[in-house]
Symmetry: C2
Subunit: 116 residues, 2 copies
DNA sequence: GTCAAACTACGATGGTTCTCGTACAATGAA
DNA sequence: TTCATTGTACGAGAACCATCGTAGTTTGAC
């Protein structure tokens, strides 16, 4: 019960200028996180953490979403009991033109090549 | 003195089909390695490890080159006392079209943005 | 108020990574 | 053979990371 002020459930995000390529690459170098990003991209909008059927527990899922958020790859907001995540397409495309699309294409190709 | 057989100084590389996107991204998510890759790309050919002026010791440099080689990003061969490294452009461009160029461009932009 | 759903915080654990220093091996030149 | 150059192997330490389980918070529905 935080008296007057705004919703206390605010999540810290790096501003655009703080996003670093190394952090983005590190975030995407984990299979679970790469999968999350691919699903977010193919959906295009906001998805709740619970939407994903990942091979890890809930607390590990929380960890992976935090890494994605803190590296600047996704933006997260609370809505009710859910936490919605969406790709930060604008920021990423502005900082690193073509990178996200090329990366998603690379992931698709590899999925095909290795048999889903 | 290895009796008859071929040069014992052969370095293990993943074949093209074994190269995994996650490993490539992980390899490039370290600042020292990203810098090595950028220099290799701008040179275009083979460079000796000793060519690089990196902020780490020689043994750490060896470590970083091994990560790059084992992830499939560079190919390394011995020539005399030197070990030459070159980007595996063909393999990477074949597996992940456009990825390397987009990544190098992203690194350049970031270097400009953050002031060299 | 009670309850279930969605997510988090915390601590722990086991593995990996980055870093180093020292000692060593391979090569080519003098 | 001796020597300098180039890179490696090995061991170690510190930091980081992915994972989990348990206990807790926040929210909305009943």
């Amino acid at each position: 019960m935080t008296s007057a002020a705004a919703p206390s459930r605010e999540l810290p995000h790096p501003v655009r200028a703080e996003i670093r390529l190394e952090d983005v690459l590190h975030a995407l170098s984990d299979p679970v996180r790469l999968r999350i990003v691919c699903e977010l991209a193919s959906d295009g909008g906001e998805l709740a953490c619970s939407h994903f059927d990942l091979p890890v527990t809930k607390s590990t899922t929380t960890h992976h979403f935090r890494v994605l958020r803190e590296s600047g790859v996704v933006r997260q907001v609370y809505r009710g009991t859910a936490k919605l995540s969406a790709l930060r397409r604008e920021a990423l495309d502005d900082l690193f033109p073509g990178l996200l699309d090329t990366l998603l294409d690379a992931a698709d190709r590899q999925a095909l090549r290795l048999g889903d």
